[in-house]
Amino acid sequence: MGLHVPHTDKLGSILWLLLAVGIFVVSADLPTGTGETGAAFYPRVIAVLIALFACMQLGRSFYDEGYQVRDVSRQQTQRVIAVVALVTIYVLSLPWFGFVTGTVLFLIVGMLYSGARSPIRIGVAALGLTLVLYYVFAVFLRIPLPESPFVPVEAALPGLIHVGLIPGVIG
């Protein structure tokens, strides 16, 4: 079963109008500051403009019905959900698994899901890219990457970080 969404422009316009109303509600708590130009002033100008263009789109959707239906097949829906879920799990896993383990696992699963079947190629690509990115960011550019409190792979990595070139950057 796929997704069938009719009247997308009408639906979209209503969501935009709700957003505009939401901005007014949320900005009611903002201190008005001095004069008319308090913190709430500018977001409310934007909200008015959003409402204006949403109304224009809603008006147009009544006489221009073309292209207002979105059909997404079951296969497509599954692929989108799977990819978003994979990335979400990858982001969630980083604080626990650390960059190296988390990325290698994500790449292996991601490549398998994408249709790659050669274990050697997958292994080389996953490990190679992870290590290249690790050394470029953490060692060369000195930008720390997430480390795992449980699987301290980063500390066990051989090479530049342990010969004292970049002391204090990692761990």
Binding site: V87, G110, G115, F137
Partner: protein
């Protein structure tokens, strides 16, 4: 100007800066050769590599990627009738017929020469004109600056998609996202919902990576990632003297026209290449072979047009702080990460950096010329790079690039949210470029609008009594009304 030029030369002619230009061009060509990898996406997912560099080195890398990716979009356009980047769509018209006639090497050679001329001519034009524009911009006040920011948004919305209302709504969403954080005038927290991390605002580059990297990837999976098996040998890549003579005028003309089109905010390489291709076709009456059936002038017009728009886009970016296209929006983001604010003051505060950008961009096109002609056989093979290995790697670059911004998890969630939102909006026909441009223009508009109103004690008179601001706002209104009127006329 001379001092800035000399300082720029000394900054660019450093071993690391030069190496980054070459590396950037190689990366750009590789990524741009792969169908579906746009210049915007490539720059967005790789911008994080510049965070640990100084501003000049970072710009050299990004400009190399930008120029390389834009040029390389022509390779799959010529060989497999699929533009590597949207800017290369017009190259298909004559490039692919040449390929079908067994002259793919000649088409790539012409595309390379035209890309070099387009890029080089536009850099020269921009180098001369930008300081003058910045000088004028230094003297404009808050009401005029507000009007320019608003005009930038309307023109971007009006040319970036089929629906102006959707373009404007995208732009306004970007402006709204930019209001999260501390209010710029009074310093009060706004829309932070109790999360202290949000006080610093939503990181623009995280949104960019989500919109152009993750959303594009998710869309690719929706469509199904296929494989390409291209087996084509190239010969005769270096154009003959007669070919060069025949494309000379059309290349130079398209280069000037592309530079002008590129300098209009929102009008990127795709618009420039279609305009220059159509103009070349209109001017070349009784061309043999006909345009559309393998005329090298068609390839030259499209490629010089889109490559010249790149430097043109730097004009509003550097002189006004208003991005010329979505890639220059990322360049602004990268400069902001280094604490550098693009705008008229940049020419006074950082003359060396400004001229290093111009000189570096010129060198980018020299490198493209050399690598394009010498390495064409290699770049052709890149088209076959399997998507099943590529896209998971792109997702990793999106995540690690976002984390590298500030080292916090919130940015990664912002990126994921922007990716999902971008995918949904794109599915429903909303252009994504206005969102990021709105995020840049929004704070400029807010700061100048509120400053204007404070100067006038809350009276809006200050906006419409300024003749310059009024003219710009009328242009903004015209840019919204004219396409609507045209659409109405067409439907009638």
């Amino acid at each position: 100007m001379l001092a800035g030029l000399l300082e720029g030369l000394s900054l660019v002619f450093q071993p690391l800066a030069l190496a980054l230009i070459v590396f950037g061009v190689v990366v750009g060509i590789v990524m741009g050769s792969i169908p579906g990898m746009t210049a915007t996406m490539t720059v967005a997912v790789l911008v994080s590599f510049t965070f640990g560099m100084n501003p000049t080195e970072g710009m050299m890398l990004l400009l190399g990627i930008y120029g390389g990716a834009l040029y390389a979009g022509s390779i799959p356009a010529i060989l497999i009738r699929t533009p590597g980047t949207p800017s290369a769509a017009a190259t298909i018209f004559d490039g692919f017929p040449l390929s079908e006639q067994g002259q793919a090497g000649k088409a790539i050679g012409i595309a390379t020469i035209a890309s070099f001329v387009g890029g080089a001519v536009s850099v020269l034009i921009v180098t001369v004109l930008s300081p003058q524009i910045a000088n004028v911009a230094l003297n404009i006040g808050s009401p005029e600056y507000f009007a320019i920011a608003f005009f930038g948004l309307t023109i971007i919305a009006s040319i970036s998609g089929d629906s102006i209302t959707k373009g404007m709504l995208s732009g306004l969403l970007g402006m709204l996202i930019a209001t999260v954080g501390l209010d710029p005038t009074l310093g009060q927290p706004r829309f932070t919902f109790g999360f202290p991390e949000l006080s610093a605002g939503i990181e623009f580059i995280a949104v960019m990576i989500g919109l152009f990297g993750l959303a594009e990837g998710v869309n690719r999976y929706r469509e199904g990632i296929g494989t390409i098996d291209l087996q084509q040998d190239l010969s005769g890549i270096t154009p003959s003297r007669a070919d060069l003579k025949s494309i000379r005028n059309v290349t130079l003309g398209s280069s000037v026209a592309g530079s002008i089109i590129g300098s209009i905010p929102g009008a990127g390489g795709d618009i420039a290449s279609f305009v220059t291709y159509n103009e070349a076709k209109r001017w070349a009456k009784n061309a043999t072979p006909e345009f559309g059936s393998g005329n090298i002038k068609g390839v030259a017009a499209a490629e010089s047009g889109n490559n010249s728009s790149t430097a043109g886009a730097l004009v509003p970016t550097l002189t006004l702080g208003i991005p010329g296209d979505s890639v220059t929006a990322i360049l602004i983001g990268a400069l902001l990460v280094h604490g550098i604010q693009p705008g008229p003051g940049l020419f006074d505060n950082e003359p060396g950096l400004v001229f290093s950008i111009f000189i570096g961009f010129f060198l980018v096109y020299v490198v493209i010329l050399v690598l394009g002609l010498l390495g064409a056989h290699v770049w052709v093979r890149v088209i076959n790079f399997p998507a099943k290995y590529l896209w998971p790697s792109i997702f990793v670059l999106c995540v690690v690039g976002t984390f590298a911004l500030r080292g916090n998890l919130l940015d990664m969630w912002v990126m994921v949210a922007a990716g999902v939102l971008g995918f949904i909006l794109r599915m429903d026909g909303y252009p994504l470029a206005p969102i990021v441009l709105g995020m840049i223009l929004g704070p400029i508009a807010e700061e100048n609008l509120r400053r204007s109103l404070e100067l006038s004690n809350g009276s809006w008179d200050i906006i419409y009594t300024s003749p310059i601001a009024m003219v710009i706002l009328l242009l903004a209104a015209a840019s919204l009304v004219a396409p609507i009127a045209l659409q109405y006329r067409e439907s009638e």
